[in-house]
Symmetry: C2
Subunit: 253 residues, 2 copies
């Protein structure tokens, strides 16, 4: 890595350091390689450890570095493209569905969910918890809310909860006619449950994808899925694998 | 706000405080209201200021709070839904386009962009800088890369740069036949130029939307747009305004 003096630069020091480090990651390091320790890095670039840490945090946010307890800071592999909008008109639970049902229970959802579903706030809905794995890594955790009116043929014979129940609910859901789905993406942070499922600490940044499934003019199901923001790039469209972004873009000069 | 003792909780203190504060924001505060200062808040909840700050940072990341210099910490309005995938088959620059061209120049793009466009790495492409405003606020900054082969009829008569040149390039681009567009969304951080345009500090979290426009089987243009992650919820689909998420979701109980 270079030893560019950082004293004369007008932009924040940590930001300039981030850029220098980012270039070093491209040119001198391999994916998975462990970075020198913080003290050595700080000395090499002539910066305070607080500045170094800020730059490392920034690069972690951008998915360039991974901090793993007991290992240290390693160079992250490129983000995994995860298709979110490809199967535009597919109900949850079809054969090629990327999600694994983990659990199901009947309970009143959060008030905002009840409002979006158009159900009474204290009315119980089927809540299916599902998880998504890509290339062997957990990438997303989902809660799928399904009002009883969307699964009228559901029998009470099945188990009241668990994966079998989840599958029964999804099977019934698929008897309806999906008209359309709408999604939104926003930045959030992982709650305790999600963090555990995604192998992250609570508060880790996640991309929250909310999807509304519409049938017969009303919301038949609502999905709130949290994707790991450090490892995932969400793709929309048929091919949907546009892999361009690499840290903050710089104006072509 | 309550005064729940935080000492007995097993989850990280700041995380529990975040939840308590989040509930207080819902029940006791109006949008735009200024929060008490950090010392008072820390005293009220019996936590160290470092813990309080962590919780406030978390809520800022989630778009619940805004920190404004000279004003203090205020309760943020709900995120603005910004349509990203509605006009699936619209070229940039049509009449109902949400973007304002600001500048245009001809230069070699970043290597990753050249690779995606299938142009030589040192071959110049038209680079249009555009910005997007929603409800009077800057929400996104974009660089749109257009290889000269996508705008064969472009004359050299127009100004070599500036908004007029940008409009001329977009006009020519629209003579082609758009076949498809693909997008991806990922977390990034604002570079110096973007930060200025978005009225944020460098390093602020942004949602990076990369869109590839395909015509006659090849990539005719590539857009890299950064959206403010604190104020924007990106929507995909026809109605596309699913407004559910409110901080980290909790399992319905």
């Amino acid at each position: 890595m270079g030893t560019t003096p950082l004293e004369t630069v007008p932009e924040p020091k940590y930001w300039h350091l981030r850029t220098v480090l980012s270039e070093a990651l491209d040119s001198e390091f391999e994916v998975g390689e462990i970075l020198p320790n913080e003290r050595d890095l700080a000395a090499r670039f002539g910066v305070a450890r607080a500045t170094l840490r800020q730059a490392l945090e920034q690069l972690e946010l951008e998915g360039r570095l991974q901090r793993r307890r007991g290992v240290g800071t390693t160079v992250a592999p490129p983000r995994v493209g995860v298709a979110v909008g490809t199967r535009e008109h597919t109900w949850p639970g079809t054969a090629d569905d990327a999600w694994q049902p983990a659990d199901c229970h009947l309970a009143a959802p959060p008030a905002t969910v009840a409002d979006a579903l158009g159900t009474d706030r204290d009315a119980p809905v089927h809540t299916v918890r599902r998880s998504r794995v890509s290339h062997g890594l957990p990438v997303a955790a989902e809660l799928l809310y399904i009002p009883p009116s969307s699964v009228p043929g559901l029998t009470a014979i099945d188990a009241p909860s668990g994966p079998a129940r989840a599958r029964a609910v999804l099977r019934e859901l698929q008897r309806g006619d999906l008209e359309r789905q709408e999604s939104s993406v926003e930045l959030g942070s992982a709650g305790a449950d999600d963090a555990k499922e995604l192998d992250r600490l609570p508060g880790a940044p996640v991309l929250v994808v909310t999807t509304r499934y519409l049938a017969e003019g009303r919301t038949a199901a609502l999905s709130v899925a949290t994707y790991r923001a450090d490892t995932c790039r969400l793709t929309f469209g048929d091919l949907g694998d546009v892999e361009i972004h690499h840290g903050p873009r710089t104006q072509a000069s």
